[in-house]
Amino acid sequence: MTEAVLNIRNLQRRFGSAHDVQVLADLNLDLVEGERVAVMGASGSGKTTLLHLAAGMDTPDAGEVLIGGRSLSALVEPERTRFRARYIGLVFQDFNLIDSLTVRENIELPLWLNGMTAQSGRIDTLAEELGIAALLQRLPEKLSGGEKQRVAIARALVHRPALLLADEPTGSLDQTTAEGVLRLFDRVTRQHNVTLLMVTHNDEAAALCDRILHLRHGRLSDS
């Protein structure tokens, strides 16, 4: 019996000053352990909003998000943040590395936040796997785009999250680099048996996943 990792129920989200722009309308989604789902959609279709809601970084207008069976909306703010730190890994389109910390320190952040600094051996393992072992002492600003995204992937995985949320992981990379990063991403996530929700408009990225869903008019559909 595989366990449900992510359940999204009737999720609604509106934006705009009058709260009149409906981005997500009654959206439902379920992910079980080890499942890999890609959500595709045009720019502005609400992909990133979906991801932010799934991470508990944004609050829905209606509906709920359950991770491992626990409703995010049932958690109060500090709990939700701690929950995110522990169970969710995030990969952003534009990396969002902390410029003022070295590569190693960046990867170490989730361990530190979860009080797992004793496990820092994982940093070196992941760095080996992602081919960034030589870069650990560098500052992010000296890295290329592909290197930065590999660091970001390491940072998202180092604390072994139950759910990895990836927002257009190759969106800021050129074609060749993107392919390399994707290959690595695929290998590492499979190696660690990560449950993955990825939003993208890149077909190749989507192809890595078990299921591909399309986000249109605030709802998900299979085709």
Binding site: T81, R84, D94, N96, S100, K142
Partner: protein, 811 residues
């Protein structure tokens, strides 16, 4: 260029804090300069023009340098055929609470008719023949919070007088704090029958008067009076000017820090602009125009603020001026267009000069370059730049050490401050790095590490902050150190147990003889002062062995030369006198006395802070002989053991009906009271500079918080709790405040030492014993940390209470 300016306009819209900081910084600096400049004018031009305003014409004044003149002189002159209109005036200082007022008693009927200012009609009636009838101007009436018909209680030489304000006299600020009375009533009330202080006459009567005046009288015109007011208040004004320039310097550092910060923030934009073909010259032009507009607007606001502030500042110096120089200044300032325009131009030019470095840097931004090259450029800085701060410090110090006048010292101080400004970020970042290393993996360590990466952006803020804090603390330390010195000096000099003065009548040699026979009294000392033409004093001392010990010799040994002083051959001079006239022990000086010019040997130079005009002390017997003046201003009583003070007071009041005994302790308190009032203005300026520092600090920290919003959002996204993030933000702002204030400590000591050892001796002529009172730092350090924490609290609160998603999105 229009498009470029349009882009900076939008930029400021998105960063209103930066805009406001730049405006506030320059406005605050300019405000202090304007305020002080306006005040300076009052201390020169408007100090002594009340009677001129009443008589309504530019006037010359007949004075007797020896003191009050006999009223019969007026009669003789006025009755001479062809006499010009003459105005007899008796002037005196009055005290109303803590306020010094000037009594101007004159003969209203002698006022020249046709002048612009006259006594109002109905005033004249009650003015005559009522002993306590007095007039004031409308402004003074309001300042005293009185109404016509009210009673004004004043003290005149310790005696209370109740005056009735019978009417309002037409006149401007020259009449501020002037009480106008009829001569007869004033003589009657003050007991100064037969006396006039001076006679005022129209300027064109100079020749007529010069022909007829007795030789010992002088004619002084308005220019000479202004000059003498100017030289009397020179030390005080120099001090104020120094302070105002320092404030301007802080203002300039603030505007520099803002513009440098803006440049760093916009490197990318400027790189883009260069890439699309904007030339170096256009980028330079853009930044110069921004500076011009910011500084221009800020300076304009500063002029307005300074004008509003000037009256308040003036109020702080009026009393010391009245106490130290016996002049009641106007309470209002009179700005001139010239002054406004000069200050405005000065501010704008200096702002442009201060951003010269920023302009150069902007020009060097290559087309298309992104922010990542910053550090490379930095590490490639030539050794010249690295050693520049040290060079500036040495050069400034050198200039201060080798010159003897005040302006180069101020220039030297400014150069040293520039050195400090350049040194501050380097030292500050070292300090932060060391702290980060010590607290490696804790939240604090991580927060500081994150801060360190933006050293380029923080450098200007750290400079401005540490300098402003240092100035504030340095001035505070100087004043406190000075106060301690004065306290020591008073405690040493004032060594009789109690001092006898009389409010009416006089003390003379026979009083001394009487007191000498009292069994309670062991020894006596006595003193009598006269004021010379140039404002310096001559004092005749009756000295006993203990009184001799009260002197602190700065050059020569007065005790060794005691015989020659007591025989009247030699005199003692104070430090300001020695410094001004270049005298040292063994020199000779010539003194114009009523008995002719006499040559004296200078036996020694002693420490004295009673007057910056200088004082010559000689033995009483010689003084009495030369001035033919047997009076004593006060007699010091050295009492035997176990004397009952009440009984002594009883005995004194029986023997000297108008006599007062003042204990050593209250003389000390009075002296320190005058000192404190004199330096209230310095405190006010120190506090103003401190406030500029606080504003700069808050704005810099707020900017820091907003600048890092995205980084903070990432941390939140990764799962850092609100409390954890608040901790990061607070650590960052507090540690920034902490390094600024830590750096301010050595800088403030440097400023304190320069002010005490170089500026004071050159401005006032006296040296200070250097001490290091730490109270200002004890106040400023926690205050800065508190501000750091408070300024972090807002962004921390703001970021922590928002979902991180929108911030991450807004890339």
């Amino acid at each position: 260029m229009r498009l470029l300016l349009q882009s900076s306009r939008r930029f400021f819209y998105r960063h209103p804090g930066q805009l406001i900081l730049a405006l506030v910084g320059i406005a605050a600096g300019v405000a202090v300069v304007t305020g002080v400049a306006l005040m300076r004018e009052v201390l020169i031009d408007a100090l002594d023009s009340a009677t001129e305003s009443l008589s309504g014409a530019e006037s010359i004044r007949i004075v007797d340098p020896r003191g009050p003149m006999d009223e019969t002189l007026f009669i003789e002159l006025a009755m001479t055929r062809g006499a010009p209109p003459l105005l007899p005036v008796l002037s005196s200082r009055l005290r109303h609470g803590n306020r010094m007022l000037e009594l101007l008693a004159l003969d209203p009927l002698s006022l020249e008719q046709g002048g612009p200012v006259r006594l109002t009609g109905s005033a004249t009636g009650p003015l005559f023949g009522q002993a306590n009838a007095a007039l004031v101007s409308q402004r003074t009436l309001e300042r005293l919070d009185l109404e016509v018909g009210a009673t004004l209680s004043v003290r005149h030489f310790g005696e209370q007088l109740d005056l009735e304000i019978v009417n309002v006299v037409a006149g401007g600020r020259e009449l501020d704090d002037r009480i106008i009375m009829d001569l007869a009533a004033a003589q009657h009330l003050t007991g100064r029958q037969g006396e006039l202080s001076f006679i005022e006459a129209p300027v064109d009567a100079r020749a007529w008067l010069a022909e007829r005046l007795p030789e010992e009288l002088r004619l002084i015109d308005a220019d000479q009076r202004r000059e003498s007011a100017a030289s009397l208040t020179a030390g005080m004004r120099a001090n104020l000017t120094a302070m105002s320039l320092l404030s301007l310097a802080v203002g300039l550092f603030v505007i520099y820090s803002v513009l440098a910060f803006l440049l760093v923030q916009r490197r990318r934009t400027i790189g883009m602009m260069r890439a699309v073909g904007v030339t170096e010259g256009q980028v330079r032009g853009l930044l110069a125009s921004e500076t011009l507009i910011l500084a221009g607007l800020g300076a304009l606001a500063g002029l307005a603020l300074g004008t509003l502030m000037a009256s308040g500042l003036l109020e702080l110096v009026r009393q010391p001026v009245a106490e130290l120089y016996r002049m009641v200044a106007s309470a209002g300032v009179q700005p001139t267009p010239l002054l406004y325009v000069s200050v405005w131009i000065l501010a704008v030019v200096m702002a442009l000069a201060s951003v010269f470095g920023v302009l150069r840097e902007a020009q060097r931004i290559p087309p298309g370059q992104l922010a990542r090259t910053v550090h490379e450029e930095r590490s490639g800085a030539s050794p010249i730049w690295r050693w520049l701060p040290v060079f500036l410090l040495v050069a400034g110090l050198g200039l201060i050490l080798v010159t003897r006048s005040l302006p180069p010292v101020l220039v030297g101080l400014f150069i040293m401050l520039s050195g400090c400004a350049l040194l501050a970020p380097v030292l500050g970042m070292h300090l932060l790095r060391m702290t980060a290393a010590l607290t490696r993996s804790s939240l604090v360590g991580r927060a500081i590490k994150m801060l360190l990466s933006s050293r380029q952006r923080l450098a200007p803020a750290v400079s401005a902050l540490s300098l402003a804090l240092a100035l504030s603390a340095g001035v505070g330390m100087m004043v406190l150190g000075f106060r301690a010195t004065v306290d020591d000096w008073v405690a040493r000099l004032i060594n009789a147990d109690t001092y006898l003065t009389v409010s009416q009548g006089q003390l003379d040699s026979s009083s001394m003889e009487t007191l000498q026979d009292w069994p309670e009294v062991e020894m006596l000392s006595g003193s009598r002062q006269v004021r010379m033409d140039d404002g310096s004093m001559v004092v005749g001392y009756d000295l006993n062995p203990r009184a001799w010990e009260g002197f602190e010799w700065l050059d020569g040994d007065g005790l060794a030369a005691r015989d020659r002083v007591e025989s009247g051959q030699a005199v003692l001079v104070t430090e300001p006198m020695a410094r001004r006239d270049g005298l040292s022990a063994g020199d000779t000086l010539e003194l114009v006395t009523p008995s002719g010019t006499v040559e004296f040997e200078v036996a020694a130079v002693y420490r004295d802070y009673s007057t910056d005009r200088g004082m010559i002390a000689m033995i009483g017997s010689r003084f009495r002989e030369l001035w033919n003046d047997d009076q004593r201003d006060s007699i010091g009583l050295y009492l035997g053991p176990g004397v009952d003070h009440e009984a002594l007071e009883q005995r004194v009041s029986e023997t000297f009906p108008a006599g007062h005994l003042t204990t050593r302790e209250s003389v000390r308190e009075q002296t320190l009271g005058v000192f404190d009032r004199t330096f209230r203005i310095s405190w006010a300026l120190a506090i103003l500079v401190g406030m500029i520092a606080a504003i700069a600090l808050i704005s810099a920290l707020l900017a820091l918080g907003l600048e890092r919003a995205r980084e903070y959002a990432t941390l939140r996204a990764l799962g850092l709790s609100r409390a954890g993030l608040a901790g990061v933000v607070l650590t960052q702002t507090t540690s920034l405040a902490a390094i600024a204030v830590l750096l301010a400590v050595p800088f403030s000591l440097l400023i304190h030492a320069t002010l005490s050892l170089a500026v004071q001796p050159r401005a006032f002529g006296w040296s200070l014993a250097l001490s290091f009172p730490l109270q200002p730092l004890a106040v400023l350090i926690p205050l800065a940390l508190l501000i750091g924490a408070l300024a972090g609290a807002y962004p921390a609160w703001k970021i922590a209470h928002r979902d991180p998603a929108p911030l991450l999105r807004a890339s």
